[in-house]
């Protein structure tokens, strides 16, 4: 029937758009969480390694990330925390707190500042 020509194409476009609209926010949220995890882990790792070598806190290079240090039994534990806002669905914002800890043994030759 002539007047139905192209209906399937329109249906495919609409469904395709709907799938993309569902998939994209999840992918963007995943990417932003992965990026935030990476930043936090790097800051915690750098901070712990610095503290283990020098006995002082590493000056903060990322103001969005809070870092805490704890010395325990010959090791230093650096804990970094960040709050990121992810958009799981269009129009909604969900704050997510990401925390990572890194433990590094204190260097036997550290310049003791602590």
């Amino acid at each position: 029937v002539k007047h139905e020509r192209g209906v399937a194409t329109i249906e495919m476009v609409v469904i395709g758009f709907a799938i993309v609209a569902l998939v994209m926010p999840v992918l963007v949220a995943t990417a932003s969480l992965a990026e935030a995890h990476g930043r936090v882990l790097t800051v915690a790792s750098d901070g712990a390694a610095w503290f283990a070598r020098h006995g002082t806190e590493l000056p903060s290079s990322d103001i969005e990330i809070e870092v805490g240090y704890e010395v325990e039994a010959g090791s230093v534990r650096a804990t970094a925390t960040i709050t990121v806002e992810v958009i799981p669905l269009i129009g909604t914002v969900l704050p997510v707190v990401i925390t990572e800890s890194v433990v590094v043994p204190i260097s036997p030759y550290r310049s003791d500042g602590a």
């Binding site: 799938i19 995943t30 990476g38 882990l41 790792s45 390694a49 890194v102 590094v104 043994p105 260097s107």
Partner: protein, 132 residues
């Protein structure tokens, strides 16, 4: 006119499956990336801890060398303490540097559906003593 009832259903099912696979791939790549970073931190920390064990007697003679037995022990101890339980740790060294290899099996969250159940994370990091 043919009856076209249900003709879009397979297409919708296929598109939903493709969407699911894309999400699964994204989530698993992110988790895999995190696993690599964590393994790299373990390898770096263990290698650096091992490289801090210098031969003091040789140092007094002006040579900067690793105290091999201490370096091996220290790197193994630190790596063993930090590495997850299901990972393998291998320490290699020569007079100049110490290398730590961390191998870990990462179980995928969603990609098992398409046949990718586990991925091996293999990270190697080396460190050597330096003055300064």
């Amino acid at each position: 006119v043919r009856d076209e009832t249900g003709s879009m259903l397979p297409l919708v099912a296929a598109l939903v499956f493709v969407g699911f696979v894309i999400i699964a791939l994204g989530v698993d790549i992110a988790l895999l990336h995190r696993g690599y970073r964590a393994a790299a931190i373990v390898a770096d920390t263990a290698a650096e801890a091992g490289a801090a064990m210098v031969d003091v007697a040789a140092l007094h003679e002006g040579r900067l060398e690793l105290a091999m037995a201490d370096a091996l022990t220290r790197a193994t101890e630190v790596g063993g303490a930090l590495a997850p339980a299901d990972s393998d740790l291998e320490v290699e060294f020569d007079n100049e540097r110490i290398c730590v290899r961390v191998e870990q099996r990462h179980t995928t969250v969603a990609l098992g559906v398409v046949g990718v159940g586990t991925v091996t994370i293999d990270v190697r990091s080396c460190a050597e003593p330096r003055t300064g």
